[in-house]
């Protein structure tokens, strides 16, 4: 197991290295500079400023410098925000995105599981259809439409919750609701399908025959087994939720990562683009690793023992 984890961690860093390299060279093909008033400068003036950023060096030299700084956790200096370190910018923005993502994921998944569970237990009944409709709506209505709608109704018309901004827990409620619709729908559909399958299996019949009560059958024997495949879906979903969703952040004026990422793309702020890409990649591979490890723990049949498996 230790050997397996070690191997995975090595792969993890290899993946990150490849992503860093790839995004670095990709950026070199784009017409971006730290200059923000390019139209007002002569070519000589531009050269002098680029010199300061080390952008006149040959690309391989820039690449080695970049990797050297990266190893020390330094993602460089932003083009868009003069003299501001990219690491600090990302850390400032990660908080709100991660909080919203975590809340949406937790509440959404828990509600989704309950919804799916109820639908499976009472399948082909009124509750089942209602739950299916909720799931379909949650998956198909675009987030910006839903977010705009609840902002107007709950925020402006009813005045129950703040329309936008990021000043306290009550400000997180509406963006969380808007964000959680997707995990809710996903979890509900998954749980329903899996539960139906599990409830039809032999060991459930055995449990019932042994006199286990209905609650025990559903929660202890049914749900626990039905949830295993859900872990696979939740992992990548968690990353995408926690790293920020542009639309939701924009509508509710949340100072998060998604918004920052898009604005850095719009302004060709390469250090920030590369930093954000690496952060996303890092979170992604770490979560995948955790999930793979969890899998082995949850279900012994798919336990991997790395080296021996070859």
């Amino acid at each position: 197991m230790v050997r397996y984890i070690f191997q995975r961690v090595v792969y993890l860093f290899l993946t990150l290295f490849l992503i860093a390299t790839f995004s670095f060279f990709l950026m070199k093909f784009l017409p971006g500079t730290p200059l923000t008033a390019e139209d007002k400068l002569t070519d000589e003036q531009k050269e002098i400023i680029l010199e300061k950023y080390g952008l006149n060096d040959p690309v391989p030299v820039q690449y080695v410098k970049y990797l050297g700084e990266l190893v020390q956790g330094d993602l460089g200096i932003s083009f868009q925000f003069d003299n501001r370190g990219v690491t600090q910018i990302l850390l400032d923005r990660l908080g709100p995105s991660a909080q919203l993502g975590a809340q949406a994921l937790l509440i959404g998944t828990i509600l989704g599981i309950l919804l799916g569970l109820v639908a499976a237990v009472y399948h082909h009944g009124f509750i089942d259809y209602t739950s299916t409709i909720i799931a379909v709506i949650g998956k198909s209505i675009p987030a910006f439409v839903f977010a705009g709608l609840i902002q107007y109704v709950i925020g402006v018309k009813l005045g129950w919750l703040p329309v936008a901004f990021w000043e306290g827990p009550e400000y997180t409620i509406m963006p969380t609701i808007a964000l959680m619709m997707f995990p809710l729908a996903t979890a509900a559909r998954f749980t329903r399908t899996e539960m139906l399958e599990v409830l039809g299996s032999d060991y459930i019949t055995t449990a019932r025959a042994k006199g286990v009560n209905e609650f025990g059958v559903i929660f202890k024997h049914g749900l626990r087994n039905a949830l295993i495949p859900l872990v696979t879906v939740i992992g990548p979903l968690a990353v995408s939720l926690m790293t920020g969703t542009l639309v939701i952040e924009q509508i509710f004026a949340v100072p998060g990562l998604g918004e920052q990422f898009v604005s850095s793309v719009m302004t060709n702020d390469f250090p920030v683009i590369m930093g954000t890409t690496l952060l996303f990649a890092f979170l992604f591979v770490v979560i995948i690793l955790i999930i793979d490890l969890l899998y082995g723990i949850i279900d012994p049949r798919i336990r991997l023992t790395g080296g021996e498996k070859k």
Binding site: D39, K40, L41, K52, Q103, V163, F165, P169, A253, I297
Partner: protein
């Protein structure tokens, strides 16, 4: 059994994280409530939003409107933009100009102090002006604004001379002397711009590379000081008690939040959470009749550039005139933009500069130089085509990739192709930086471009088209035009009336006779303002708004 225990453990961990997050949030909320204790309606608080985070609070590094706005609210230069839009004394009490117009001596007020208690002296200006052209600092606006204006600015910026050679000097603590490279009649207007703001050397050097990054790494001398700056979320300014003119400042506080979404902003405005919102054209219809609706004109002008080097057709003046008169400018302003924008009569915008004697607006005097006229356009077009000996022309049309650019270019393609038979327009929509690159390399036929001025003088618009000028990039060259510009900026520098007349003639030559560019529109902004906000002044140069005199009257 084993697996279920694990699941429970994971679930418990996750739940505890969630609960921890909740309780943490509650604490924050408690603090929030107590600070909000006072009666808000009685407070002099202005609540605003901005579309983006402040890119920098370093006056010499600033290049954009948001930085300029908040630097201009918290810092003050020799001069500031007054209520009427004209420069008025700020840290300088007065100035003398030498006979040859090359030496300006500013007399500074002695009662002005920095927010850290230090007096503001001529040395602070020497320090910051040198900083603006110091290659080590890497300012973009420094070389642009000072180059060719302040003596040796170009040489210092190029690293050919040490910064000490820049033509600035502290004669004594309160006398600041500037040597110019050429007579610059708009020096007072320049002095209102962020690049020319002073800095407290001791403070800046203490902060090192942290300077300007957070509210506590900043030093102020303006009407307001920044007390809080949460990156990406917003910032708070409070009245500066040590400001030399603190008696004129009535607002206690300005809060600014970052919102990128216009519908959100409108919702916040309707919910009485903010005092101003911008409107996009879709909202203009809805709010046009409201008492709170206002439109303001910006000094930004948008026009078509004709590349006379790449396209044979565009080298023909009749073809250029035909294109310049073949599209409905009013239609662009009213139908597509619908935000208070107006058709541009020429290159120099409306409400920007006035005749030094009569006070008549530049635009009023020169009027509309190439008005929309389908019939005339067709005449020019046919004449041009016969001179070229062809019956069809295909032109590339380079433009931006924003929603507005896309709408305008679709409209332009339709107008030009309909009104000028035989013309094919090939649209090329690219991001801003790519457009600049193509402009520099002159890889376009027609380009939709714009210019926002940095100081209040027609020179900022008209000097772009001098032969081989850094911003010309369209192969326009007219010796008469070059001579007029030279004259305006040298022998006429001390003769404001004749100088103004020269600029009027230059614009006519550039547009009416040469049709070197085709003016499209002058940008406007549609807004809603709460009626209780008084005395916020809109500026054409420097910071967009002056909040110094603003107050709340409920």
């Amino acid at each position: 059994m084993k697996k279920s225990n694990w699941l429970l453990l994971v679930l418990a961990l996750v739940m505890s994280m969630f609960l921890a997050a909740c309780s943490g949030g509650d604490d924050e909320n408690a603090g929030e409530d107590s600070s909000k204790g006072g009666d808000e309606s009685a407070e002099q608080v202005l609540r605003l939003t901005e579309g983006d985070e402040i890119p920098t609070m370093d006056p010499q590094l600033s290049t954009n409107t948001i930085s300029s706005q908040w630097l201009g609210t918290t810092l003050e230069g020799l001069y500031r933009v007054g209520k009427d839009g004209a420069p008025e004394p700020a840290i300088a009490k007065s100035h003398d100009v030498s006979e040859d117009a090359l030496t300006w001596t500013f007399h500074l007020r002695e009662d002005a102090v920095w927010s850290n208690g230090d007096p503001i002296t001529a040395h602070d200006f020497v320090y910051s002006w040198r900083r603006a052209v110091d290659p080590e600092v890497g300012s973009e606006y420094g070389p642009y604004m000072m180059g060719g204006v302040i003596k040796n600015a170009n040489e210092v910026a190029a690293g050919e001379k040490p910064v000490e050679e820049l033509g600035v000097k502290a004669v004594d603590d309160y006398t600041f002397e500037v040597q110019l490279a050429k007579p610059t009649p708009y020096m007072e207007s320049l002095a209102t711009f962020t690049t020319f703001y002073p800095l407290n050397q001791k403070f800046v050097e203490e902060q090192g590379d942290q300077f300007g990054l957070e509210a506590e790494n900043l030093v102020f001398n303006g009407a307001f000081i920044m007390t809080e700056w949460n990156h990406g979320e917003g910032w708070t300014l409070e009245k500066n008690p040590d400001y030399w003119d603190a008696d004129s400042v009535k607002l206690d506080k300005i809060t600014v939040k970052v919102t990128k979404d216009v519908p959100t902003n409108v919702n916040l405005y309707n919910n009485d959470q903010i005092d101003r919102t911008g409107l996009t054209s879709t909202f203009v219809e809805e709010y046009k009749s409201s008492d709170e609706f206002r439109t303001v004109l910006n000094p930004g002008v948008f026009y078509l550039k004709f590349n006379q080097e790449r396209s044979e057709a565009l080298a023909n003046v009749n073809i250029r005139k035909a294109i310049a008169t073949a599209f409905d400018k009013q239609g662009i302003a009213d139908t597509i933009l619908n935000n208070g924008s107006i058709p541009a009569g020429g290159l120099v915008p409306k409400e920007f500069v006035a005749h030094p004697e009569t006070g008549e607006d530049f635009r009023e005097i020169n009027g509309e130089l190439l008005p929309y006229d389908k019939e005339k356009a067709k005449e020019y077009w046919e004449k041009g085509l016969s001179e070229l000996g062809t019956d069809s022309v295909t032109l590339n049309y380079l433009t931006g990739d924003t929603e507005t650019s896309k709408n305008i270019s679709a409209f332009m393609k339709n107008q030009l192709e309909t009104n000028l038979p035989g013309l094919t327009i090939e649209l090329q929509q690219v991001p801003f930086k790519e457009r600049l690159r193509l402009d520099t390399e002159m890889e376009y036929d027609i380009q939709a471009a714009g210019w926002v001025p940095d100081y209040a003088d027609p020179n900022t618009f008209l000097n772009m088209w001098v032969t081989d000028g850094a911003n010309n990039k369209m192969g326009f060259s007219n010796p008469e035009y070059d001579a007029m510009l030279e004259k305006a900026n040298n022998e006429l520098a001390q003769k404001p009336n004749e100088r103004f007349q020269t600029f009027l003639d230059m614009e006519k030559l550039l547009i009416q006779e040469e049709a070197a560019i085709a003016p499209m529109y002058q940008e406007g902004v549609a807004q809603l303002w709460k009626p209780y906000v008084k005395d916020v002044f809109k500026n054409q140069i420097g910071p967009e708004y002056s909040y110094k005199w603003a107050y709340i009257e409920k």
